[in-house]
Symmetry: C2
Subunit: 226 residues, 2 copies
DNA sequence: CCTTCCCGTTGATCCAGGTCAATGACGCCC
DNA sequence: GGGCGTCATTGACCTGGATCAACGGGAAGG
């Protein structure tokens, strides 16, 4: 496990000189988490910077009655815990590994000390935070202004464009439909019905985790909430 | 209107040497917007950094049917448009002045050039973004997991602690109930009914824009969603 | 091979809250 | 002072989706 090699590949560290990375790598800790394992509760201090190397992690909030809302689905290369490293005292959500995952832990103060001398790293962080903020706004919009089929449609559009550019019309989910429901802010039942409605309308066809888009235009119109 | 004086007071510019601020101030533009005036649509490029000097601004999303969700309510000293200055192409929301407002505009490239040489400014931005991200997460949690009275309760708790610390049990809204409804992700009717329910329960008393908390403990329990 | 989960699906029921419509109370401008 | 637009409120109604319960199927583990 060559930590340094891994770090060099990440968008987070693009443009950061190798010796700075080395300083970080020396003080970083690599750990693996089993599927279903939680790293941080909402109240833990957790002054560290986490970077996912392998696997999949979700950030989520849960209600006292046990309902859950996924805030973010993170994969290899995605960092989190930026907030706590620089600013906020306690982590604002829960984090759970969805599969066996390898995570790099960089102590907050270490990260901060090095970043202060390396503006490029700070800018990278700003870009990532901006992106997250934009995603959050999209989620808020979905939850507040869209119904479930529309949310699914815009989720799919995003996933498609992120994955395979334009021509793509096939998609393999990285999570179960249950988890997808939590991302969309719905129950599994409601999602299932939404899917059914859309496949009846000839927009898409779902088989387990694989989704085929049959009518991309209709999907786009749904996503815009028309 | 001494722009430089104003800038020195802002959290955004704390710790930034005066000569850098001066360089920014020289290339900044001060403009006023009338109540109800929109600055940026979701699709405009708007590569600028905005800082509110006076007045009140909301960031929001709207649906084709005309429903609106307020993402952020911003007041004097609050910056926005961070995303576009560094990262994202188009602004991810709409912005509208709720009252007559004076805004400082710093062109994106200017801001970027100076920030690159001034890590402290970058760190300030990171802190503000982290904070916004945390607020967004709270809003997502509210929309997805809480009902309206609970949302109102947690909004009030936040507002109270932000305003007057602990002892405070009186609160003057800066916006109409209509606008508050858009912040909470509800209709004015639903909010009105929520308020009524809570005042029947003896938790608070509302008169126009002024709210008096009668049972802080009950309010806290509501906010936690118990 | 049989059991045991968990996942997706479907049906029945219920309710929070959105929508529509009407009313009264202010504040504003002519 | 009298119209007028906006705001808050209330009632009646409707619906999206949550909840509860039941069932089939595939994967994992005995």
């Amino acid at each position: 496990m060559d930590v340094l090699k891994q770090m060099q590949k990440l968008a987070l560290f693009q443009g950061v000189p190798a010796e700075k990375l080395k300083a970080l790598a020396e003080r970083a800790l690599y750990r693996t988490y089993k599927a279903g394992e939680m790293f941080i509760g909402e109240t833990d201090p957790a002054h560290a910077f986490y970077v996912i190397i392998t696997g999949q992690v979700k950030l989520y909030k849960s209600s006292p009655e046990g309902r859950e809302q996924t805030l973010n689905l993170l994969g290899p290369g995605d960092p989190f815990g930026m907030c706590t490293a620089f600013a906020i005292e306690s982590f604002p959500a829960n984090a759970m590994a969805l599969e066996e995952s390898g995570i790099l832990l960089i102590p907050g103060p270490v990260m901060e000390a090095i970043a202060m001398k390396e503006p490029r790293l700070l800018v990278n962080i700003i870009q990532i935070l901006s992106d997250r903020l934009r995603e959050s706004m999209t989620l808020i919009e979905s939850l507040s202004l869209k119904e479930i089929p529309q949310r699914l449609a815009s989720f799919l559009i995003h996933a498609l464009t992120r994955e395979g550019g334009q021509g793509m019309n096939q998609l393999e989910l990285t999570v179960t439909q249950r988890e997808l429901a939590k991302i969309l802010g719905a129950t599994p039942e409601a999602l299932s019905r939404g899917i059914r409605k859309m496949s009846n309308a000839g927009v898409l066809a779902v088989d387990g985790r694989s989704i085929r888009i049959l009518d991309r235009k209709a999907l786009g119109e749904l996503a815009e909430g028309d």
